[in-house]
Symmetry: C2
Subunit: 344 residues, 2 copies
């Protein structure tokens, strides 16, 4: 890789002249000099060394994307369409904004922050964080002075919490309301955390609120844990089908993935959807469309999430005034064929 210094020698000028050319400061430069420098740059295929640049305190142009996925199933990360979707969308936004993306599938907050500091990362986007992670991130990012934006986090932690999320509670509310209007009274909410937190918690709470509003009770045992490990999930679901399924007329899954996966088992076991039981998902991703019957679900737009996350982060990096530090993107109900109309 050729350096500014070498280019300067070749063009018989000084390094600073070369630097000036590179940065477009050649208002009053002799045309001939300019031309010579430009040719040298071109012919030698000059690319600036980001390390040198960063060292001089000029911004690394790196945005780190950190995913705290270890608590989740290792298999999930490769399979979960959310992972690929959000990564792809973030990469595009980051690149379009003129930054580079460093991807780090967290081995813990501590590690992630070291990485970010080490590279003089200009900003950090964190996904998959629970409240405790958020706390640690914010504490650490403050110390290292790194702007950080979360995706899909829920955290009650003062003003330095910036997040791009979803109207999860409303989504849960809308779906459960729809189910209730379709005549369903006994509804279970199924997710892959023993004790739901974050988005799962919100979706469930929304569900609960809607049911209460419709005079249909929702109690603790109507929350069903179905594990993030496929094998264990199968086991749990088999048991659920045998012992508890008859209590419910509709199952509201925390994600399309879980719904689609469970529907496969149902089909194997001869449980017909929606004749025997109705099912609903959340996300409206490819799993909802590929499932048979196609899933009635709550739609969210992942590219939008990525777009706003990067935009918010860059605003923070530039210390621009920020009107809304906690963006909650809208959701909508998508009605397909997995919910039966029980009215009359």
């Amino acid at each position: 890789m050729i350096s500014v210094k070498k280019i300067a020698e070749l063009a018989k000028v000084s390094p600073s002249t070369v630097s000036n050319v590179i940065h477009g400061r050649f208002g009053k430069m002799k045309a001939e000099t300019l031309e010579r420098v430009r040719r040298a740059l071109k012919e030698n295929n000059y690319v600036s060394n980001m390390n040198g640049r960063t060292l001089g305190r000029h911004g690394s142009k790196i945005i780190a994307v950190v995913m705290d996925y270890l608590p989740r199933d290792k298999l999930n990360i490769a399979q979960d369409p959310f992972f690929g979707g959000i990564i792809g969308a973030l990469e595009q936004e980051v690149r379009t904004a003129g930054y580079f993306m460093m991807l780090y599938i967290s081995a813990g907050v501590e590690e992630s922050l070291r990485m970010a500091a080490s590279w003089n990362v200009e900003g950090l986007i964190a996904t998959g964080c629970n409240a405790e992670n958020c706390r640690q991130f914010i504490a650490g990012a403050g110390a290292f002075n790194i702007p950080i934006v979360f995706i899909d986090a829920y955290y009650e932690g003062g003003p330095s919490f910036y997040n791009v999320g979803l109207q999860d509670r409303l989504g849960g509310f809308m779906m459960a309301g729809y189910l209730a209007r379709m005549g369903h009274r006994r509804i279970a909410f199924l997710a892959d955390a023993r004790e739901p937190v974050g988005v799962d918690y919100e979706r469930r709470e929304g569900c609960k609120e809607a049911l209460e509003k419709h005079g249909a009770p929702f109690s603790a045992e109507d929350y069903v844990y179905i594990s993030n490990l496929p094998d264990e999930r199968r086991r749990i679901l088999k048991d659920f089908i045998k012992r508890r399924l008859r209590r419910y007329s509709a199952l509201f899954f925390a994600s399309d993935y879980l719904a689609a996966d469970s529907l496969c088992l149902f089909q194997d076991k001869g449980v017909r959807v929606p004749q025997d039981v109705s099912a609903a998902g959340f996300d409206d991703n490819i799993f909802a469309r590929h499932a048979r019957p196609q899933l009635t679900t709550i739609k969210q737009d992942i590219s939008q999430k990525a777009f706003f996350a990067v935009r918010l982060l860059i605003a923070r990096m530039r210390k621009e005034p920020i009107s809304d530090s906690r963006i909650m993107l809208p959701v909508s109900l998508v009605i397909r064929r997995s919910v039966r109309d029980l009215r009359g």
Copy 2:
């Protein structure tokens, strides 16, 4: 971020002493000094600045992962489980090997190489490359002196081509052989490229070879283009069902994703699988398991791909002797329920 220099001041030693401590060269160091330096490092939360480090010619510790996905459908990249899977798997391998991963969804070879050079990337992993991309990459990587390893590329370009791929042709051969043994004689191969290249080409050739071996002809029109754009694919498939489906007893899709997606349409149109027509996929990912009927397919192991790609790359980076520069990972036949037995 605190620097070595500052630490040196605090511990009342020189920077090089601090550096020695950091790098474990304190064999004969006074215990008291060592302790003082260590405490200063700890208390001030020292993290080394990678830019400074790299500038001193000590390796950036960055491995760049470049995906040339633009030719594919933009939607696909977020949906295609291959994308998330390979990214996740690569990230894990890269991190485990002690490197950082920079992700770049290519805006072209030129751009990718500039990025890599700019960051003094130690190595590059490229996926989604056609032969022309490979050529450009190898030419450019040579100039910048960056070791590069491809994933799933096919390129006849001399010794500096390092690749981790699959026995694609064998996979095609195995599946078509299986179909033939099950009594199928009229088989179509469906993929999303007008003119198949790379893995699609190989899989199709394998298919053709097997069929010829079994005395079943496979001609140009038995290759069916089904677009990478979902809407266009639906249109094409509808037409295919109407006009050409009856000619075939089995459909061999280039990927599980395409198979699963097409099966949805078949179901909507009342085409029963495998009663009316058999279907087979390739990959054995979640789409194969979620499809109904579950897909008979060719299994590949994506984490293995990532593992070998990173291993091969690091071997190149270290200039270790390399016995096999073109790794072809094994495939196997997974029999499920989407292929009908036509014998007797």
